[in-house]
Symmetry: C2
Subunit: 342 residues, 2 copies
């Protein structure tokens, strides 16, 4: 029987099918493709959002918002300034105009929030809904996954944990109403870290960068593999004050929550001599930043305080693929005294 | 009951939902989106190819080839030079690696044929196969749908008719083997008219341009509507010598065949004073070109020799949507003495 993509898994596909074919292409493996002349492009489709899975039908606007954020986040990892988005929608003919309008509202609002816009697209009818987009940007200088060295600080930029904090507490009516509303707002309107990416690229303060699209473990692994290095995490991730409050009230583990995906943080390696400047520049721009660990010279070894770190992947084309489900199980893993890896 | 996209149809969606929202965006309505700085981008998904529908399972390479051609053809209509393609594949985990390799072979071969390449992309697992791509290019000067005037010649550039000639004769074993092989080759490896678009844009010889993605009728209508004009067709379309032969042997109507889609021709309006130069320049570059009609000042009226032209649309989100099927019926309409509109 011939092999399938599922047999190989995402990493197998990358290694055996994509690398031999495309490794000579500049920027191969980075979040954004390199077009030359300082131009980059990124394309991503929008899977069914977690929010839609948990509360079906409420999220046309959110879906559109997410589609834009996902694509802009890849530009952020390149340190790019967005030039525009092109969208590609396949929708069943039975889609209501109301749904379609809300979807476009979400994309347009998110693009505007990031100071860019939809410049074109394609729409066709099909059996199933399928949303994809491409973001084009200008990145000179450009950040890539490569460039980190042993001893570099690992910075997690943005505000991780909101989506899964919302997911884990959405039925907890004992939590303060205002807090729950705030979680919902942050969870449903994630922003790409474009400003942070540009700032660090322009100032030459980042050695390497990747966005957190499939969880922290997966992103740290991408960064270490791209550089032939390892990483040692501190074992604590400082969250926003309100998330710390949620952890306290709902018994969630902040280190586990900080490892989740859906908030479109950036993971950046910074040489020690740039660390102070980088943190200062980000803080002055009111961008959330915390040091979570250090790049090490132990080839692709991932540890927490020196002990093996076994994160759970969101590996595509595997049983652990996010599209495979298992939401409640993942929420349980966020509870304090669980294994703590999400 | 709330309205659906199917109720509105493609033209209704365009008029009532997209135009109010996006008409201020430069290049709105054109085949390619305008990013500024001379940059354009185009995104299209690849529907199940006609060839795949007629002969299931033979066409992974063809599918990939088509995905690239579809997107590059939009750049051709902008007169653009391609900078690269980004691809976006959703594939079931059960997809064989062999299929995936052939798909990539097709995209890569087609990109190389057009002197460009895949610079990046995204791959994820999903229930159904879904292929989309974005082509980014540089177009200065840029061609658009607007700019045509009454009296302009309508040129059809490229080699129309191959795909449907193949479809209509694929079971005709009485046709010369070599001819059938040639039809298959042309039908399965359509090329975008990038060279023609660039040539006409750079020389300032085209007043307006659109690619033929959904059939000639649909493209002529797009061009007339964008310019508030009408068009009168000559009623004859000169096909390649080998296609003329096929029409003779298989009893196909050359005017009907010339109106079909799938060969990624360009439709261009040319001011009378540029007509001779345009045709000469194209012929010297060995690009197929024929004059098929004239732009008129009768607002959006489409005629053939002065008599109403009623082409059959491939309108999306309608019963006549190409994805709706009806292939055999369309093939019958290519026979001589049928209504002749395809």
């Amino acid at each position: 029987m011939s092999k399938t993509l599922g047999d190989l898994g995402e990493r197998g596909i990358y290694r055996t099918l994509l690398t031999p074919r495309y490794q000579h292409v500049e920027g191969f493996g980075d979040d954004s493709a390199v077009l030359g002349r300082g131009l980059v492009a990124s394309t991503d489709s929008c899977p069914t959002p977690l929010i839609e899975k948990l509360e079906p039908g409420i999220s046309a606007f959110h879906e559109g918002w997410l589609l834009a954020t996902i694509n802009l986040s890849d530009l952020a990892a390149a340190g790019a300034e967005p030039l525009g988005l092109v969208v590609n929608y396949t929708l069943p003919a039975t889609t209501t105009t109301e749904y379609f309008k809300q979807l476009m509202d979400g994309v347009d609002a998110c693009a505007a929030k990031h100071r860019t816009q939809v410049v074109g697209g394609d729409l066709r009818d099909g059996k199933e809904k399928y949303l994809t987009a491409t973001a084009i940007g200008w990145a000179e200088p450009r950040l890539s996954r490569r460039g980190a060295e042993p001893g570099d600080a690992l910075l997690l930029i943005g505000d991780p944990g909101y989506l899964w904090a919302w997911a884990a507490t959405r039925e907890r009516e004992d939590l303060p109403k205002q807090l729950r509303r705030r979680l919902w707002k942050r969870a449903s309107r994630p922003k790409a870290q474009l400003k942070a990416g540009r700032l660090l690229a322009w100032k030459g303060l980042a050695a390497a960068a990747v966005d957190v699209s499939d969880g922290l473990y997966s992103s740290v692994r991408l960064l270490t593999e791209a550089n032939g290095l390892g990483a040692d995490l501190a074992g604590e991730i400082e969250l926003d004050a309100e998330l710390a409050k949620v952890c306290e009230l709902a018994g969630l583990d902040s280190f586990a929550l900080g490892q989740t995906w859906g908030d479109w943080s950036l993971l950046v390696a910074v040489h020690p001599e740039h660390l102070e400047d980088a943190i200062l520049a980000l803080k002055m721009a009111k961008i959330g930043v915390r040091r979570i660990g250090t790049m090490t010279d132990s080839h692709t070894e991932l540890t927490v305080g020196g002990v093996e770190w076994t994160g759970v992947d969101q590996e595509r084309f595997s049983e652990r693929s996010w599209q495979g489900g298992g939401i409640e199980e993942k929420i349980r893993a966020l509870q304090k005294n669980s294994s703590g890896s999400v």
